[in-house]
Symmetry: C2
Subunit: 207 residues, 2 copies
DNA sequence: AGCGATGTTGATCACCCGTTCAAACGACGA
DNA sequence: TCGTCGTTTGAACGGGTGATCAACATCGCT
């Protein structure tokens, strides 16, 4: 039995989907190569440089293939974000399941490898609403998961200090992000002191 | 006596400057209008949209005028950043000179009006080295000034908590930035708690 | 009045962009 | 073998971009 052609529904009229263009399979190896290249371009030259042609050049593929797998640029950027988000989720899960989940989480927040890309997407969110919605969704889910875990581990201890797990999640993430962001700008004044202060605080919580 | 023509030295050869193009005066009112328009465009549509033509459109001026006052796009972006940095400096000076400098500084960090633009420039810094250098310079100067002031005001109190003024400057700034940034993404889980935690901490320091 | 510095304008160069299209290629089932 | 589908390719469209230029307008000085 021949397969039905793989197309994309662009719109609908009176209940009938309008077929527009064929689209590549999600499992394609070429597709993965394009996402790889797009992530590299965004990392190296910023989100503004993530044009289909430049991505194709980096992937050593003809530009049309990019549009075959990602009809619009938003589709491509979304794919890059989703894959990065998945990796972040996995890293957080691993941290929360480790022997020392709190310090592992703090270590994750100060990890430079993911944060640079994350910053680009935050900037992107300002004027690409499709991406903005996805970032919002993912950020809230991450926060909820972290808050639940911190509450389970440190709830009473935090209450003693007039704090909540939600506040701790926000403050840990913000301090980590700031350290990474400023390091990227070659600004490091006060970083050692700040890091020490945070770690001392974690020590008192985990004592 | 006639003035020497106002030009820009693009390069030099054997000690003689090469005259290239005329350039508008810094004091020009038109120039200020262009910087205004550029800042608005960056705010609304992101730094990637800050093209000379779009800026000119917003300023209701012909595009060539933008290049008359700002020969390259970097020149324009730098001018926008420098003006914003000056305004930030003024706001910080005002905060540090107020009745309650510490809480005023915290209030400044959580102010939304400046931070959105600052985020755009951080993203820009990743691939525009001229701007990156300026941001680094300004960030370090801001940090130094804040640290000195906080140390004068709270030095001993902070030492009691095993902290330094530099750490406090980093942590206050990071928490404020994070709150503003996430608010821009419609992420607000834990924000009230975090804000309360910071303000409680300030209360203990200022008691 | 004349001249040069300064401000302004519209046209133009070569380039990159997102997107679309028609045509080919390769594999696999009928 | 043929047809079909997923994949790949190269070319094309309309449009936006940074930058440059020659010309025109304005103003102040001599």
């Amino acid at each position: 039995m021949p397969q039905a052609p793989c197309v994309r529904a662009i719109g609908s009229y009176a209940g009938t989907m309008v077929q527009k263009r064929r689209i590549g399979a999600e499992s394609s190896e070429t597709r993965a190569r394009i996402v790889d290249a797009a992530e590299q371009v965004i990392r190296d030259e910023g989100y503004a440089a993530a044009s289909s042609r430049r991505v194709a050049l980096r992937a050593e593929l003809p530009p049309s293939l990019v549009h075959y797998y990602f009809p619009t640029t938003d589709d491509l950027l979304l794919a890059v974000f989703r894959r990065g988000a998945q990796q972040s989720d996995a890293m957080i899960d691993q941290a929360l399941a480790s022997d020392d989940p709190v310090r592992a989480l703090w270590h994750f927040f100060t990890d430079t490898s993911r944060t640079a890309l994350a910053m680009e997407f935050v900037a992107l969110a300002n004027h690409r609403k499709a991406i903005r919605a996805e970032i919002t969704r993912h950020s809230e889910a991450m926060r909820a998961r972290q808050t639940a875990c911190l509450d389970r581990l440190l709830g009473p201890k935090l209450a003693e200090q007039g704090m909540t797990a939600a506040a701790m999640s926000v403050l840990l993430a913000s301090a980590g992000r700031a350290l990474v962001m400023e390091k990227g700008l070659d600004v490091s004044a006060g970083h050692d002191d700040a890091r020490q202060a945070v770690e001392r605080w974690l020590d008192t919580l985990l004592a």
